[in-house]
Amino acid sequence: MAARGGKGWRWGGAVLGVAVLLGFPIVVSDVYLQHLAIFFLLWVTLGTSWNLLGGYAGQISFGHAAFFGMGAYTSSLLFAKLGFPPWPGMLLGGVAGILLALPMGHICFRLRGPFFALSMLALSEFLRLVTLNWRDLTEGAVGILLPPFFISKLPYYYIALALAAATMLATWFLVDSKVGFYLLAIREDQDAAEALGIDTTWYKLVALMVSAFFSAMAGSYYANYMAYIDPPIVFSIVDISIAMILVAVLGGMGTLWGPVVGALVIVTLSEAFRAYFAAAHLIVYGVLIIVVIVFMPEGIVGSLAARGPRWLRPRVATDAPGASQG
């Protein structure tokens, strides 16, 4: 079925997609739409990085805001206190995410059960409290105000695009290799994975570190773009941690394109419903989660792919040449 589409179409589609993404902010000059596009890309990054760990490796985190906020505070503080340039600071933000991930993974991945998922939740709450109370360093609830770096949205857009692309490429690269097979095996059955020679603790840690790196970079980016952060925003359970899960689950866990679709839906819906429900617009998130889990547990991409072309399938799989022949 997929074979009929052929390679030519896929390359054509890819070129077209890249052209649209690169040309979007030049053609669409509306600042509000550009802003939405930037948020879309930010959510692609966040959803994809959560998905690598949660969707592929099956290690659900309820507190990825911990990494997001860690990245945001690291680059912002480096700039505010030491004058360290904020865009290279994104990289250091990412590294800070990894440094946070290491002990967490080390403690939690030895254990089975819900420990990791909820320890992440506890960690992000812990960091929120620390940033709130350590006023000498973080200004506490006052937050950190950064100068805007660009007047135009264009540079912001392209940086967000680069970040989202890097996250997706890293995921694609990992998932298409031995690591990807191992992560899936761990998700599917940990006992079997161990009996087959997989150091499950190590591979989960690898997925966590990569995931934390990109989530933290996204946090740094958010700080630079919004030019303001405070603890309740960047360590928000619902607006960051749960929204990340929603993006991945809605789009399709363990699929490369799921988070892209999920991000599109979330950004559109939350803009649409903000007007109706005001502060309670998150009720939409709740209803969405319930509906998706009950009626479409494979997510949008996952459900479509079950009937659709092979390259969409929610597995790393042997999309490798030859798998579908003979």
Partner: protein, 301 residues
């Protein structure tokens, strides 16, 4: 010299008072955690809407008090059945289909996240984000023991929490239904073979887990203020309590609650109020590192 002695005496008083306050609030934490523990025992998943159920219980208590003047101490007769039914409905219409479809545990947990979000935001729509408190005739009363003073509502809340916990324990140990719940928690397959209707037990247990939050909500209203987003905070506290006690152990949860209450109360006085909740997290991490099976549990790794 005399100055120093008096200071020493003061410190001791503060310490005793702090410990007492910690134990009293810990009893409530224990009750909140028990709801999560009993659900975990049977469902094998953490219900992340547990704190939100507590929040609903608190609002029910608040409204029956405000509208009809029902004393919070008597309100469990309303909150317990109300939350039981809510729990049964949530399980029957949302969780049961997932369990029948053998959905991944992660998906079941995510579902409870969705339920929690809906409950919180429905409360936000209905009652706004304003903080509310209940003022009863005894709200400001103190009990003094020498130089130590504790608030009467906290003592009453603790007492009733212990009463409810004992009732739960007796129910689990002595009644047939309780035995079925324990058998299911121990080994669902074996329970099924013994003729236990595991699905029905699962629904009832979820109802009981919710009802416990109803009872806890009625009591928490006496010592805490009420707002829609409170659920998340208490879900996390309940989880820490449950881990401290050993996943799924109801008695352990009670102990875990008291440990958390003590840690928070001592931390607030001797470290800083702002870090109170962070101390709970530190205790939790230490626990994960050194005794992941909980304070009373057997290691199973």
């Amino acid at each position: 010299m005399a100055e120093g002695q008096r200071k020493g005496h003061m410190d001791l008083t503060i310490l005793l008072q702090t410990v007492l306050a910690g134990v009293l609030v810990g009893g409530l934490y224990g009750l909140i955690g028990m709801g999560m523990a009993i659900n975990f025992g049977v469902l094998r998943i953490i219900n992340l809407a547990q704190g939100e159920l507590l929040m609903v219980g608190m609002y029910v208590c608040y409204w029956v008090f405000t509208l009809w003047g029902l004393d919070p101490l008597l309100s469990p007769v309303v909150t317990i059945p109300f939350l039981f039914v809510l729990g049964v409905v949530i399980h029957r219409f949302l969780l049961t289909p997932l369990i029948r479809a053998r959905a991944l545990p992660e998906n079941q947990i995510l579902l409870t996240v969705g339920v929690g979000l809906v409950l919180t935001n429905a409360a936000l729509l209905a009652f706004t984000s304003n903080y509310r408190t209940i003022t009863t005739s005894y709200s400001a009363s103190l009990i003094t023991l020498g130089s130590i003073a504790v608030s009467l509502p906290a003592v009453l809340a603790f007492g009733i929490a212990m009463l409810v916990s004992s009732a739960l324990w007796l129910f689990l140990m002595k009644t047939d239904l309780g035995k079925c719940i324990r058998a299911t928690a121990q080994d669902p397959d074996a329970a099924l073979l013994m003729g236990v209707n595991v699905e029905r037990i699962s629904v009832i247990t979820f109802g009981i887990g919710a009802a416990l939050e109803g009872a806890a909500g009625s009591l928490l209203v006496l010592v805490y203020y009420l707002f829609p987003a409170l659920g998340g905070i208490f879900t996390l506290k309940a989880f820490i309590v449950v881990v401290l006690g050993g996943l799924g152990s109801t008695l352990g949860a009670l102990l875990g609650g008291i440990v958390l209450g003590l840690a928070e109360s001592l931390g607030a006085v001797f470290v800083s109020t702002g870090y109170k909740d962070a101390i709970g997290f530190i205790v939790f991490v230490l626990m994960l590192i050194f005794r992941p099976a909980g304070l009373v549990g057997k290691a199973r790794m």
